[in-house]
Symmetry: C2
Subunit: 204 residues, 2 copies
């Protein structure tokens, strides 16, 4: 049984990581101050350093959490054998991630924009392996005439970009929508449209 202090530590670390993800997403690594994170988490600034030692370390841990979630949602691709079902499920899962975890997506985008200094290794190993495998699966579908012949990499990048756009460029979309965010119902329809475009683009 966990003692009191351990429990407090867990709760506070979670609070801080959530707050940090929010602040890093909104201001970037440099623009995010430990004071902003402390206010967002409703915890004193010194506690941020007590729990995470440095801002850089906190950022690392935020990214680690995002990577682990990213890999989870990547599994949606493999739950189905047929391209139509697999791609639908994957796109829907990516769109849900953008809807539910926009800050995570933005932190990720920010890290990429600025040269991926922290997650380079993950990209070169885990993600590259995942991508290579998925390219093979797609190539298999193409070879057995289940979808049209396209460059699988270009196709996957299209799925990533179009789905992540709904998180990363949320602000642009809202401003172009007369300042109104999409309702859940609207977002559901947008998701269906995205699925349709993606499937149609490869003849499904």
């Amino acid at each position: 049984m966990k003692d009191q202090k351990e429990l407090v530590r867990e709760i506070n670390e979670r609070k801080i990581i959530e707050a940090a993800e929010h602040v890093f997403a909104c201001y970037g690594f440099k623009g995010a101050t430990t004071e902003k994170i402390s206010k967002q988490s409703a915890l004193p600034k010194a506690n941020i350093h007590y729990y995470f030692k440095t801002k850089a370390n906190l950022y690392h841990q935020v990214l680690a959490g995002i990577l682990s979630e990213w890999m989870d949602s990547a599994q949606a691709f493999d739950n189905q054998e047929e391209p139509r079902q697999a791609l639908t499920q994957y796109v829907v899962s990516k769109m849900e991630f953008s809807r539910l975890r926009p800050y995570a997506s933005k932190v990720w985008a920010n890290e990429m924009l600025h040269g991926a200094p922290i997650v380079s290794e993950f990209l070169e190993t885990t993600l590259k392996n995942w991508l290579d495998d998925r390219v093979e699966v797609i190539q298999g579908w193409i070879d057995s005439d289940k979808m049209s012949a396209v460059d699988p990499i270009v196709f996957i990048y299209m799925i990533w970009s179009v789905t992540q756009h709904y998180a990363d460029f949320e602000r642009q979309m809202t401003l172009l929508n007369s300042g109104k965010s999409f309702t859940d119902e609207e977002y559901k329809i947008k998701t269906e449209q995205v699925v349709k475009l993606v499937l149609t683009s490869v003849g499904l």
Copy 2:
């Protein structure tokens, strides 16, 4: 005829804006320091302030330049009457922009990620008008059965995201390509693939 000093001013301002675009793209607004910009432009730090007064003002001017280029490339959409030609030209033009001006695209993406504090007004007015007009054009094509019935907005967002991805996520693509950037020839092929996917997605 311009005198010597005016010429020097023009040349230096251009140098600084180019350097600033590069540095803002790589480090974000906060992460970009006037010292980095001064080194990148090979001009003393004090001159940055002499020409642009504040870092914020310099950032404004960098964004203004990007907006103006953005509107130029937007015209590619209107050079053709038929959807196939218009969309092809537009996608190619967006892909070229990502290839030739990756830093501009990244500064833009960064501004969006962090809530578009500077360009909100442009988005709500100029860009919103442009978008509304293009939505009408696309709806016209749909109504006259020249392309399949899709949500024009979702479709345009797809074009934006997939083309801009090649600039903003350049680093991710390079790392997933065994550390090698795309050659001009490879990029040309990728562009053709993107055009094909976009056209096919709406039945063209």
